[in-house]
Point group: C2
Chain length 147, copies 2
């Protein structure tokens, strides 16, 4: 599954190729990606804030895309808003982790609305990890737009 989505993301979001963003594991409920530091450095030699955000956004988007493909819903997936907190510098290659919590109210609402072909928002939290330390947290409000 991860190869299919790796290919999809690299082809449709070419920035992820340049960034050397890769899926390590993927299921419809969780994702783990890795991004190389070298193409993503800033003036301090650590990861550029924009790269950290873009790697985490690609990670969250891929998880939600995989989830809704696996459920065969028809919707357009877009980001409406996002907040990122930078906790410490990212000094090496880094990982992004995200999961969908089963049995949550947000997930129940999303499923209910998509089954009625109605648009719905859904929040996803992505953790950015470097050398076993949490370095940043991205929270994205995605919207599934039904036509």
């Amino acid at each position: 599954m991860q190869n299919t989505y790796q290919e999809l993301v690299r082809e449709t979001i070419p920035l992820t190729q340049y960034m050397d963003w890769q899926i390590k594991t993927l299921s419809p409920m969780q994702i783990h990606s890795q991004t190389m530091l070298a193409p993503n450095i800033n003036i301090h030699g650590t990861a550029f804030a924009g790269s950290i955000y873009a790697a985490a956004m690609a990670t969250g988007w891929t998880l939600m895309k995989c989830w809704y493909d696996s459920n065969q819903y028809q919707a357009e997936l877009v980001a409406a808003e996002a907040n990122i907190k930078y906790l410490r510098p990212v000094t090496s290659d880094f990982e992004c982790l995200a999961q969908i919590t089963p049995e949550s109210d947000a997930l129940r609402k999303l499923i209910s609305r998509l089954e009625q072909n109605r648009s719905c928002g859904f929040p996803v939290k992505i953790e950015i990890i470097c050398q076993n330390q949490l370095c940043a947290i991205l929270e994205v409000s995605f919207v599934f737009k039904c036509s």
Copy 2:
């Protein structure tokens, strides 16, 4: 001035080269940048949310860097937190605009603290414009860290 900073950003944040991010005008109080759509597309053929954020972050960072260089302060400039709202799709090359409001309380506080060699936060708003329409707004909390 813009050529110096264009060179600085392209050399120290290589992602901005790939993204084809360019400074159109720059002074210590305002900046106007342009980013090409082609390297920054997503699955919908519009600009990837991560690219929009990274272009706007590079724009805000460059403005603050230029401002504090021109005032000859000694500090490390980092992003602590950011919020972005996506209002409409970015369907073509796009521009980022940001300015520092003179005479604001935030600026007075920043100057006062930097003159005492004390760290201080500073908020910057960056507007992302495409075809004369406001498509996204990024608000970044930068921190000037004094040692």
